[in-house]
């Protein structure tokens, strides 16, 4: 009886070992975490890529740029994603070397809710930066009226809706405001969270959905959300005045113009806090995936390179329809070249 059990146990162990060995040879599982802003498009890419590539599965957890970088540093994930790239001191902590790759780009729009739902609100640079500083508080402020002679604006108070959680979206948005308005830079600065003015007309809501819902339900509200989200939620968003003084509607073309206005450096980290160009949408930003240069696992490294290649080719085609901006061809070439560093 005893020997029978022993041999049975042995058989189970052997078969388990065998199956796990074949698993390792065939299946590569990549895990990533980070930015929530590109999460919808990343998840679509990874799903399609996993389906089309035998033996490779990619899992992505959208938990925020900061958390993604933290996971990457703790080595709990194979790659991370971040809207604010990666700090130099964090890069220095990774002995294996870090390769940042911009994968897509997005715009941040100012969604608004005005009585009577007027379309095509235009906001000059001074105005929208001062709204978020709490200095312009009524919709019939002379500066807003002057920019929108065709709209009927009442003395509705402006309710400013901002993100309550720490977010890369806030980082990109405040970076832009701090660049165009010195007072904003001095009073609030930039970052994943900033200390918004204390006023009963500043409301914080969690995540993009929270901000969107609050804007929709609050007459006189204005809030910043991602373009893709605004498009899905069908909220009205404002035309913003860019550096060249033109009012620009956020869409794939105006975003592409903004990206084209900045030359991608060797490090592949380019910021567009206030892009040049008459047709550029002013609040546009790249978002990055973060890889280790030396992964110590050729199969994984190969799978990651394939994943990047898929995202650069097939992936870019769906960017526009999902509310993101496809990378310019020159950037795609640069990223492809740099992806060879993932070994």
């Amino acid at each position: 009886m005893k020997s029978l059990m022993k041999s049975a146990a042995l058989a189970v162990t052997v078969s388990l070992c065998a199956s796990s060995m074949t698993f390792a040879a065939e299946n590569v599982r990549l895990t990533g975490s980070g930015a929530s802003f590109p999460a919808p498009i990343y998840l679509t890419w990874f799903k399609d890529f996993s389906k089309k590539t035998a033996g490779v599965t990619v899992d992505y957890q959208s938990k925020g740029s900061g958390a993604g970088v933290q996971d990457f540093l703790n080595k709990t994930v194979d790659f991370a994603a971040s809207d604010s790239a990666m700090k130099d001191e964090d890069i220095a902590k990774v002995a294996e070397g870090v390769q940042l790759l911009p994968m897509t780009a997005g715009e941040i729009v100012l969604a608004y809710n005005l009585p009577g739902n007027p379309k095509g609100l235009k906001l000059p640079r001074d105005v929208y930066s001062n709204i978020f500083l709490g200095k312009i508080t009524k919709w019939n402020d002379p500066q807003i009226v002057a920019a929108n002679p065709d709209l009927k604006l009442t003395d509705t108070p402006i309710t400013v809706v901002v993100r309550a959680d720490s977010s890369g979206t806030t980082a990109v948005f405040t970076k832009h405001l701090a660049t165009i308005n010195p007072e904003f830079k001095q009073a609030l600065g930039e970052g994943n969270t900033v200390n918004w003015p204390a006023s009963d007309k500043f409301i914080k809501s969690p995540k993009n959905d929270g901000v969107t819902a609050t804007v929709r339900q609050t007459p006189g509200a204005i809030g910043y959300i991602e373009y893709g989200f605004a498009k899905l939620a069908k909220v009205d968003f404002a035309q913003l005045q860019n550096k060249a003084g033109q009012y620009v509607v956020p869409n794939a073309e105006s975003g592409a113009e903004a990206l084209a206005a900045v030359k991608m450096p060797e490090s592949l980290v380019a910021w567009l806090p206030d892009p040049d160009g008459a047709k550029s949408y002013p609040i546009t930003s790249y978002t990055w995936m973060i890889f280790r240069k030396d992964n110590g696992n050729p199969a994984k490294a190969k799978a990651m390179r394939e994943m990047v290649e898929y995202s650069l080719t097939e992936g870019q085609k769906i960017a526009d329809s999902m509310g993101y901006i496809p990378l310019p061809q020159s950037v795609v070439d640069q990223v492809r070249k740099a992806s060879a560093n993932i070994q």
């Binding site: 900061g66 309710t159 200390n195 009963d200 969690p206």
Partner: protein, 322 residues
């Protein structure tokens, strides 16, 4: 080994000494119960210890500035949770007032022969169903239903009675009042259910005696039944308050998360639980220390509420027995 008693008994008797199996079951149950108690205590201690350990650096660095400050600015390293403490207590208190009034009245209505027993059971189930709705759903419901519904009234109150501090600002959207209203609905099932239990556990004889003395229906309820069940009803309020203090997601969506200290019911406010939930995911090491500190403060507030509640209950019991 446990040995059963060996007592000579008449084999025909219906009374038998406990068998070995009875002993075993009894001992095992006792042991399991003891382990359970010890584990629960150990869990609480571990929780407080762990949070306290992580909060310690923050407490050393910032001291009481955190408790008294009202600015939360991560970039400048300024952390103040006074507005969150204020908002937590204020929203929970308003929710308790509303839910307490409705919950206790509901319990009286459902237990004191106002309805046929079957109908009362249906209502009871419906109220208890409220407890099964997820917090996020309450939050969304608050944004899409409650806020638009109360907006006309709040606008009127602000324009006509704006000199009263409670109506001092106009309601923009999320704010203290919508948060407190939704919170009240969330703690209503707890208060209603526990109060009902308290009222139904008053012995039938007490009620009969009251009627026998010639009381009316309402006199019996207000002067006999409710005072007899007071301890249990009070317990339900303490439980409800405890839940209100810790509620997170619905509040994070409805309270406005602004670091304001205002008496106005229509101004956005902040609560400790919402502050923790929204800032934890992306917090850096310096911020985590302070968030742990804030968590400790929240635990302390909840503990304090429970201790005060228990003390009042003890006092009330003594009062009724004398």
């Amino acid at each position: 080994m446990i040995k059963p008693f060996v007592v000579p008994v008449n084999p025909d008797s219906a009374c038998q000494p406990p068998s070995a199996k009875d002993f075993l079951v009894d001992r095992t149950f006792r042991a399991l119960a003891k382990i359970g108690v010890v584990l629960i205590l150990a869990l609480v201690v571990a929780l407080v210890f762990e949070v306290g350990r992580k909060a310690l650096p923050g407490m050393e660095k910032h001291g009481f500035d955190v408790l008294l400050g009202s600015v939360w600015d991560v970039n400048q390293g300024k952390y103040g949770i006074l507005p969150a403490i204020w908002g937590t207590l204020y929203s929970a208190l308003i929710a308790l007032l509303i839910a307490g009034a409705f919950g206790v009245s509901m319990a009286i209505f459902l237990t004191q022969d106002f309805l046929p027993a079957k109908l009362a059971a249906v209502f009871r189930t419906i109220v208890e169903l409220l407890a099964a709705i997820p917090s996020v759903v309450y939050g969304l419901w608050g944004i899409y239903v409650v806020i638009p519904a109360i907006r006309p009234l709040t606008t009127w109150l602000n324009s006509e009675l704006g000199w009263i501090p409670f109506f001092g600002t106009s309601l923009s959207g999320p704010g203290l009042l919508p948060a407190a209203l939704v919170l009240a609905i969330m703690i209503l099932p707890t208060i209603a259910a526990v109060s009902q239990d308290a009222l139904t556990s008053v012995p039938m004889k007490t009620k009969q005696a009251a009627y026998g003395m010639g009381t009316t229906h309402w006199e019996a309820i207000l002067k006999v039944m409710v005072p007899s069940a007071a301890t249990g009803i009070f317990g339900s309020l303490v439980l409800g308050l405890g839940r209100a203090l810790g509620e997170t997601m619905a509040l994070a969506m409805l309270v406005g998360n602004a670091n304001n200290i205002s008496l106005s019911l229509f101004a956005p406010a902040n609560t400790l639980a919402a502050l923790l939930a929204l800032n934890f995911p992306e917090a850096g090491p310096n911020e985590i220390e302070v968030l742990m500190y804030a968590a400790l403060v929240l635990m302390f507030i909840t503990l304090l509420v429970n201790v005060i509640g228990s003390m009042i209950m003890l006092y009330a019991q003594r009062g009724t027995k004398q």
